[in-house]
Subunit: 332 residues, 2 copies
């Protein structure tokens, strides 16, 4: 059913105007009388004309394509940002060209950059793995706009949109306090992990503002379920009357919960739990009941904003933080 495709000159001929007039009429560029413009538009519609996007891109020198550099696209967080950005871009007729794991090896990087240039991409999105690691700066290596997502920028002149770990810590404590908890502990990941650190700092800050202290020193360990179990076991021995635990991630939270329950305590009756990541949303995107109360760091929002900022073109240097939000469930 492809028939032969209608080109702009078909439209021009049918409308009795020149090719250039037809082009300008449809694009709204240059001076064209309203009458002519309208006439061309109607004719184009009648014929079912569509611009050949390829020809157009070629003539304009812009590809309607955004290059995306990921450290590792299989990372679950990266996937969320990637999928939302791609959705947002697709809605605006922008394709994406994904280069995964090409940011390391010098040779690959250079090669990738050359390829992206040859494609005449309109912009670049660099997606980091988390706010724990910096991603090398690519801003100066392209002559098109570059925006970073979910990472800590290496160069202060970079434009970055990322999660607000400090606010996450504050929000977690704020939520627990508003639920009347006072003997709060924090079990989290590696002490040298930037995200873990900043969350702990934010939390401690809000705690101090409320005139409180941790029920026990913050325990740093790993981002894993089993660490949650181990840390919670120790914690219960040390502070049996703890009434809330801020878990550095949902994975840790799962381990913690198991130990709390095994100790005969009720969740959230005796001990409230709050995690970070909104892990369950990675399983159930439908609305509906959830289990672990958690904080959503705003990955989807990051993806959306990154796409839109890039298209709007107003890239100011600096870091823009996305506000986290609490996802209510059964454990607080």
């Amino acid at each position: 059913m492809a028939d032969q495709v209608i080109t702009l000159s078909d439209v021009a001929a049918a409308a009795g105007v020149s090719l250039s007039t037809a082009s300008k009429a449809l694009n709204g560029t240059d001076r064209i009388s309203d009458a002519t413009r309208e006439h061309v538009r109607v004719t184009a519609d009648r014929l079912g004309f569509r611009h050949n996007a390829l020809a157009r891109s070629f003539a304009r020198g812009r590809s309607q394509t955004i290059g995306v550099l990921t450290h590792r696209a299989s990372n679950p967080f990266t996937r969320v940002v990637l999928a939302t950005a791609a959705t947002e871009l697709g809605a605006k007729e922008q394709a994406i060209l994904l280069y995964d794991a090409r940011m390391e090896e010098q040779h690959d990087v250079n090669e990738s950059i050359l390829q992206l240039r040859a494609r005449r991409i309109d912009g670049v999105i660099v997606i980091g793995t988390s706010t724990s690691f910096r991603t090398p700066s690519f801003t100066s290596r392209f002559d098109v706009p570059v925006i970073n997502a979910f990472t800590v920028p290496e160069d202060p002149r970079d434009t970055t949109i990322t999660a607000d770990d400090h606010a996450i810590g504050r929000l977690a404590i704020s939520h627990l306090l508003s639920n009347g908890r006072r003997r709060i502990a924090h079990l989290t990941a590696e002490p040298h992990d930037m995200a873990a650190q900043r969350r702990a700092e934010g939390a401690e800050q809000l705690l101090a503002e409320a005139g409180l202290e941790w029920a026990a020193p913050v325990r740093f360990g790993r981002w894993r379920e089993e660490w949650g179990e181990q840390a919670a076991t120790d914690l219960l021995t040390e502070v049996p009357d703890v009434d809330a635990i801020f878990c550095g991630s949902d994975a840790i939270g799962r381990g913690v919960e198991r130990v709390i329950r095994a100790s005969g305590r009720q969740v959230p009756g005796d001990v409230a739990l709050i995690g970070v990541d909104n892990w369950e949303s990675l399983m159930h995107d439908q609305r509906g009941t959830r289990h672990l109360t958690t904080i959503d760091v705003g990955l989807e929002e990051i993806g959306r904003r990154v796409a839109n900022r890039l298209l709007e073109g107003d890239l100011e240097p600096g870091v823009e933080y996305v506000e986290p939000h609490v996802v209510m469930a059964d454990t607080v």
Copy 2:
């Protein structure tokens, strides 16, 4: 540092040949002497020449872009398929243009198809939400190859790559049997859900082949953690000596596990648990310890194959199933 870009005619001039000769030499098309070909190649390299991908696409009428239609890109399963397919395609210089949620409303569908045609996309990937729902067939609506992923095809002439629910059921039971379990129960989702049904059938079939029966009738409910709790509670009352539970999903498995432990039973000592989905891989992509033993349905493999089949171009009608595999952890 963009300088002025090197074009093919620059190369031709520098090599002392005509534009057409340079083109053919670099593309390996048409008859060109080895000496000339080599000379042109060397010259191109020396000058740092790269084809302008836009011009090339335009001239060839092929865009190096694959259209992707998703029912809902925010679905976690969809995201996995999408991200792996995009990675695979990116490695082969193919961009993707994502049209999310445009498969429903008739108007949107038609419009989207027209847009994709205008883009001269080279192929289409349609990603379904699960093997529970059919996705409308788009094969005949494009004049480029169309391939379906993670769905049950509506039209037998469609090409589809998807998960093998029957094999998943068999694999779960097989794994439990090989661990010496004999009193096995199955707690799963909606009875009219195709995926749930086929998993149950596969499981029951293997059980029968082993001369066994379910320790209790299969309980159908919902794909949720809370349903797992409820179903497990009932199950323990009915069959206190059950020694293994095949959970229809990891979410259900989580609920089940909590109840089993709360009853004082050991996991996996008294009761072994196996789920489906490899939920934890959505959190930790790193290797490392996991908690719930589960079956990976092969979403990444689906994404990879879909991308490669499309590029290879050998699309045979019919359904190709991806083999599931067990992901070992602590609960079996």
